[in-house]
Amino acid sequence: MERNNQLHRQVALMRQSLFDQGYLDEQFVQLEELQDDTNPNFVEEVVTLYYRDSARLVASIEQALDNRPLDFNRLDSYMHQFKGSSSSIGGRKVKAECSQFREYCRTGNGEGCIRTFQQVKREYATLRKKLEAYFQLARQAGPRDTASRST
């Protein structure tokens, strides 16, 4: 019982740190509020779809960045989708890097795009790692009788 309480505390702390460190924003809370007994893994399912979307988009952007000359419209379109997906799960830092990339597309700055894309990938990898750790711990802790949420 005590071990379980401790796990739940750890989950809560881990969750809070994701917000405090700016990895997640309010949209993640919106997803949590949609989760219920009929769909107890809703948030993790949505985040899994996000990983799938992201893998596809990162591959597409990488391929597009290999082409010369750079097609900024195509790059912007892909990044627009990636930004939208990241926004849907509350991925705050990833979203910010996506916006920067799109700004470079707008100004036709190829070097800026290439440089910023590395940032996008780094932030995405970090977010994914943290979320995977969070959900793994949450699964270990199991459901709790009362949920307390705060951002």
Binding site: Q27, L31, L34, T38, L49, D53, H80, G84, S85
Partner: protein, 150 residues
């Protein structure tokens, strides 16, 4: 593949006595988006809202599925049409639905910077355009508009 889901909000009792939305018996909503993540989130958002005694949602992944649903006799009170679909053309799908005689409220769901194009919205046959992310308040506003225009 189009998929239905139905959630009974209550057993017919008025859960929230002061909520005008619950005078509505049924609400049928179609979520059209080619991204599975968007479909999942929007469908869940709508199905959890207490805006009618019975809320039924269905999803379509592309223009063809949306049209096929209507051709097979389905009708909806609200169609949430994702306008940011590279494969499926939201405005085109809307025009085709209107050409078929669909009179549902069709709501374009798009990014913030695209909502300002009012002319394009009207030309496409949309009733409203909302910026992502969709929220409970935005959906409730649509239902209130639907009630007012009844």
């Amino acid at each position: 593949m189009a998929s239905p889901s139905m959630r009974w909000i209550d057993d017919g009792c008025n859960v929230d006595g002061g909520n005008p939305g619950l005078t509505r018996e049924k609400l049928f909503v179609l979520v059209v988006a080619d991204d599975a993540l968007v479909r999942k989130v929007h469908e869940k958002l709508v199905s959890k809202l207490k805006v009618a005694k019975q809320v039924q949602t269905q999803t379509a992944a592309n223009r063809k599925e949306a049209l096929d649903l209507h051709l097979s006799g389905s009708s909806f009170d609200i169609i949430l049409m994702d306008m940011q679909m590279p494969i499926m053309d939201g405005p085109e799908a809307t025009k085709e639905l209107r050409a078929m005689g669909v009179e549902s409220m069709i709501v374009g769901v798009t990014s913030v910077d695209a909502t300002a194009d009012k002319e394009a919205i009207v030309e496409a046959g949309l009733d409203e355009c909302l910026a992502k992310p969709l929220t409970a308040e935005k959906i409730k506003y649509l239902v209130e508009t639907l009630e007012r225009n009844k």
